[in-house]
Amino acid sequence: MKFLKIEDNKGFFAVDGKTWSPIDQINKEHLLQLLERALSDNFEMDNFEKEKLGNQAHQIIYKNIYEKFVELGKNKNRFKDESEAYYKEAIEKYSQ
């Protein structure tokens, strides 16, 4: 599912993959929700292409967030492995 896209020279984001808002409307809550999605499977976004983003402000915001999520995507598997292990033994012990 796509969460960041470029259309009509503008950047857009959708925390649910459906409801699109201009990228310059993004706030902290949106970014944290996208963060959750970015670490799960099926997170897609349009590649950053400067030429397709005529709106300069959108260009800056889209590029920065896009790069953050690309970097995060590289560590997706590591995050899965590590987060599986967080407090695993304790949860098992005290759930018995």
Binding site: L35, I61, N64, L72, A85, A90
Partner: protein
């Protein structure tokens, strides 16, 4: 048998409080305690002149010695006395090395001062504080012939343990003017004469040392007045006001690490206050279980304390705001802010936790001996080794990459800073979204752990002395309950308001001044202990006292001696007979036990190893308190002055209220039997 005390102080040193040596008390000590040989062993010093005076003043053999602070422990070094000038010079060298009470010399210094250790008797503090460390014992093992212990219990333990040194038990007395009681701590050796060679031979053989002249290790000297006790079970019998409790008090003062259960000490007086105190004691007694049970949870809370989700969220907010501002102000962009590095993000360094855990797991599989067969059936050791090497290489590569990233991040940071100085454009605040995600995930998992550990559940049920201890975990019910866990006076009202949300609760705990981070975990779940009687019901006040008595007797194993004063004053005979007597007998196999009683259930049925009878007599208006001792099967008990009294008479008088009452009771029971 010869009686020796090779640990005597006669000169105060920087390690002692001040005292004045008394030659008269020295002579008196030797005579009253019937010693055959002594050694003078002052802390880190030897007084040649005084030693000569003592050797001339007493009629027994006196050996020159020194007690040395060595490697944090202490060691007695005793010379044969043939080269006194040389010994004096060596001891002076030790004295110069020790200038404060905290000083201690090293093994190498010690060996350089005493190059030929075979000339001396070396006796370290062994099962006695401060003990000579194991490394020093190892280094001196060819010369150490015995180890000093601090109680008859430890003496017997060393005798029985084949790996232990020969134990010796010495007074460690300061022979001072104000000395009121002479120490009963000495060692008997099976030697014909007190010579250096004979002592050395005896101390090399555990069969040649004992706690008493005739009865080996079964009897030991307990008081300076000559009272001896069994290393097993002793019963002190006597009528009221004949000095039973006084004798018990004297024993308590003479020895250290003694458990003393005083008369009436366990009886409840105020039901509510006593129940509260009992519950506190119960929880304290079970603190090890609580600690073990919550160990994993404590580790989680400790880890969680490093996470700050709110701070992370504020950082995300700053990042978004700064990014948007930077984008809006793009027209302000100049030469500096247009530079690629101006808004470049840091590299995410990442962690190495997963790969380290994998390397550990594979190494464990390679090294495991216990389950070797099973492991080998499924995977070869060669394959495991190859896997370990590959993982290690990967770890090295990741660590190198991480170090490079750190270097580049530092570089990026300093370049960004330089560019920012020259431009009006707002820079974009950097953020590591990976770390933000980690914090959020941990907080989510933390909630799961806390909810699990708070769900009400019985976590322990065990039988103790016919009672049951039950532990239940559950959520705290009030701020007051949280407060009762803290030793400090702090308010938990705000914290309790956030109790339902684990991370918020932890956040509020962090704001409470005076609360240690290491104790946060205690406030999440309430571990409550209850004692149930044999019928499975909550215990009554009387049963609480019974449980406490049994528990105290049981826990006395960690002490060197157990003293119990008149248990029958607080407990009924059936309980004593059925529960207490057997437990006391069991404990007396481990440590000396002394029970004061005038009750036949305890006194006679407990089958003591040794009987002490206290008797008050008046002669010419002067009151005398006499002590008579012997084995229960002895026809006569012997007084400290050598006089004797009939054992049966003592038993009947003290336990059965005299022969006539005993016969009368017997008749009464016979009549009842006939009527059946």
């Amino acid at each position: 048998m010869k009686k020796i005390d090779f640990h005597i102080h006669t000169v105060p040193s920087i390690s002692d409080s001040a005292f004045t040596f008394s030659m008269d008390r020295m002579k008196e000590y030797v005579e009253k305690r019937e010693l055959d040989g002594i050694a003078i062993t002052n802390h880190n010093l030897f007084d040649l002149k005084q030693f000569g005076e003592i050797a001339n003043a007493v009629a027994i053999r006196v050996f020159p010695g020194i007690e040395i602070d060595l490697e944090g422990g202490q060691l007695l070094l005793i010379s044969d006395g043939t080269e006194l000038q040389d010994f004096d010079a060596k001891c002076r060298s030790i004295k110069e090395s020790i200038t404060t009470a905290a000083d201690s010399i090293s093994i190498s210094t010690f060996k350089s001062v005493f190059p030929d250790l075979s000339k001396y008797l070396l006796i370290p503090h062994y099962d006695k504080k401060p003990e000579l460390p194991q490394s020093a014992l190892e280094s001196l093992k060819d010369f150490i012939i015995a180890g000093e212990v601090s109680s008859p219990k430890k003496f017997i333990y060393c005798l029985k343990d084949p790996k232990s040194l020969t134990p010796v038990y010495f007074s460690d007395s300061r022979i001072k003017t104000a000395l009121s009681e002479f120490s009963p701590r000495q060692t008997y050796i099976d030697a014909g004469e007190v010579t250096f060679a004979a002592i050395r031979t005896c101390l090399r053989d555990k069969n040649k040392v004992s706690l008493s002249r005739e009865d080996g290790h079964k009897i030991f000297d307990a008081l300076g007045n000559g009272l001896r006790l069994s290393t097993g079970l002793n019963v002190i019998l006597g009528e009221r006001s004949t000095g039973k409790s006084f004798t018990l008090d004297q024993i308590y003062k003479t020895f250290s690490n003694v458990k003393y259960i005083k008369q009436f000490s366990l009886v409840e007086r105020n039901a509510e206050a006593d129940e509260k105190r009992f519950n506190e004691l119960l929880s304290a007694g079970q603190s090890r279980f609580t600690q073990d049970y919550l160990k994993k949870f404590q580790a989680v809370v400790d880890d969680m304390a490093k996470v700050d989700v709110d701070k992370d969220e504020r950082a995300v907010e700053r990042y978004v705001d700064s990014l948007k501002k930077n984008a809006q102000e793009f027209e302000k962009a100049d030469l500096f802010s247009k530079a690629q590095l101006f808004n470049e993000s840091d590299f995410s360094e990442g962690g190495s936790g997963t790969i380290k855990a994998l390397i550990g797991a594979v190494t464990a599989l390679i090294e495991n001996v216990e389950y070797r067969e099973i492991i080998d059936r499924h995977v070869t050791i060669e394959a495991l080794k190859k896997l370990a090497v590959e993982l290690m290489l990967q770890y090295v590569a990741e660590t190198a990459a991480s170090l490079k990233k750190r270097f580049l991040n530092d570089l990026l940071g300093s370049i960004r800073k330089s560019l920012q100085v020259h431009t009006a454009a707002a820079p974009v605040e950097d953020i590591d979204l990976y770390l933000v995600a980690v914090g959020r995930k941990k907080s989510e998992k933390f909630r799961a752990v806390v909810k699990a550990v708070q769900s009400e559940r019985e976590i322990l049920r065990k039988d103790i002395q016919g009672f049951q201890i039950v532990a239940v975990r559950k959520p705290f019910s009030s701020a007051q309950a949280l407060k009762s866990l803290s030793a400090r006076k702090v308010k938990f009202r705000d914290a309790f308001a956030a109790y339902a949300e684990p991370y918020s609760f932890l956040t509020v705990l962090r704001t409470i001044g005076g609360l240690e981070e290491a104790e946060y975990f205690k406030f999440f779940t309430h571990i409550e202990y209850r004692i149930l009687n044999k019928d499975g019901n909550d215990v009554s006040g009387g049963e609480r006292s019974e449980f406490q008595l049994l528990n105290e007797i049981h826990d006395s194993q960690q002490f060197d001696m157990l003293l119990i004063d008149e248990p029958e004053a607080s407990f009924d005979n059936l309980f004593l007979m059925n529960n207490v007597n057997e437990l006391i007998r069991d404990i007396s196999k481990l440590i000396p036990v002394v029970v004061v009683t005038h009750n036949n259930t305890v006194g006679a049925s407990i089958k003591p190893d040794y009987v002490i009878h206290t008797r008050k007599s008046t002669s010419g208006g002067v009151v005398n308190y006499g002590l008579y001792t012997g084995h229960p099967s002895d026809k006569f008990l012997t007084g400290l002055d050598g006089s004797t009294i009939e054992n049966l008479e003592v038993l009947l008088n003290c336990l059965e209220a005299g022969q006539a009452a005993y016969a009368e009771r017997g008749k009464g029971y016979e009549i009842l039997k006939d009527r059946r």
